[in-house]
Amino acid sequence: MVTPMISFDFGQYMPPMLRGAGVTILLVVVSGIAGTIIGLVFGTARSAPLAPVRWLASIYTNFIRGIPILIILLFLYYEIPLLFPYATFSQTITAVIGLSVYSGAYIAEIFRGSIQAVPRGQLEAGEALGLNYVQKMRYVVMPQALKIAVPPGIGFLIALVKATSLVSVITATDLTRAGRNITSANHQALATFLVVAALYFVISYPLSLLGRWYERRLA
């Protein structure tokens, strides 16, 4: 039996690894921001006084949250070239679109919960003072809802970091894809992916700690 030689050439492979990590972080930031904007819109829509608005918003959030992120990414990966046969663009853009749609639905749900969590008495006080719907939302509800949304928001951010790994499947060059490319060169799957896992951990664990710290502060 041949003893397997497990090794990893950090010098040669760290640069592409770190480049991949950079793309991952970029994906998280861009999709996170886009998702927050989408989430704010759909989250407030879900508690709007008009029923059809609520309905439409909830169809979007419920459906996206009920299917795997991989399905969203694969669908865009195959469908977009069919819709735009003459366009060529990097899969990173497809990745951002998919991740943003995904994030928007989850963040919308977080906002919906946070808006509901604002005590009813606050709304009543605003009403008794004569504020209209927009004023109530803007000055009384949303500031309080945003604070409540932070811990679950950080929780989702961690999930988003992990979700970005799936863009490697549609050939976007993130950290996981870098890992696969390196593995096909050095045939050291174990070592390479351990490094990949470590890098994900380094990105995600501080967020976990931040979330827990913030939660303690709120209590």
């Binding site: 005590p119 008495g121 606050q122 009543e124 006080a125 008794a128 004023q135 009384v140 309080q144």
Partner: protein, 250 residues
Amino acid sequence: MSRTHDLGPAMIKVDDLHKSFGDLEVLKGIEAEVDEREVVCLIGASGSGKSTLLRCLNRLETFDRGHVTICGHDLTGSKTSLHAVRRDVGMVFQSFNVFPHMKVLDNLTLAPMKVLKIGKAEARQRAMALLEKVGVADKANVYPTKLSGGQQQRVAIARALAMQPKVMLFDEPTSALDPETVGEVLGVMKNLAEEGMTMMVVTHEMGFAREVADRVVFMDNGVVVEQGPPKQIFEAPQHERTRAFLSKIL
């Protein structure tokens, strides 16, 4: 109670008011009237409908049947602008509902600026004067969570007064307070009454009712059982249910 003004014309008129929550009928034909500058205290057991009645007066609750007129606004009509009503009617809640994410001063200036469209400087002046009046002027730039319950409730009263309402509704304003701070809030309310504000107060504080109210209304099970000047209600109640209620709490 010593007072500087006589009573004026009717500010609140309630006529055959009915309200149900699902199958439960909570208000079974209420008739009531409150004159200008009058102070009316609503007393009764939990579930008698007194808070619901109060909340119908500024349409925080809708009612099923009957008529309500407050400050000249007919609440029965669907065309009535709720904002117009709420500008004239101030409300103080049992759980204060002070906005925790704004400083005390901002709590008072928000509605006057946004609803009455008053300028920032004037709103602040008005706010500071009111905070002086209720005795928390030194806390103007503090966040409400740092204040005691009694202080927060006084801020809530000042916040309602900042809109210069014609009528003030109080929904069990001291029920959630520690005994030590109840007195400071009742003191503010007493001053308000002496200055001639029209007030309707749902309360368990019988001492306050006896001392400050022009009229005490006893409700039980969704109907007005008895009403009259405090001396009569507390010392010579006419109805058996009134007597039963008072004997349990006094």
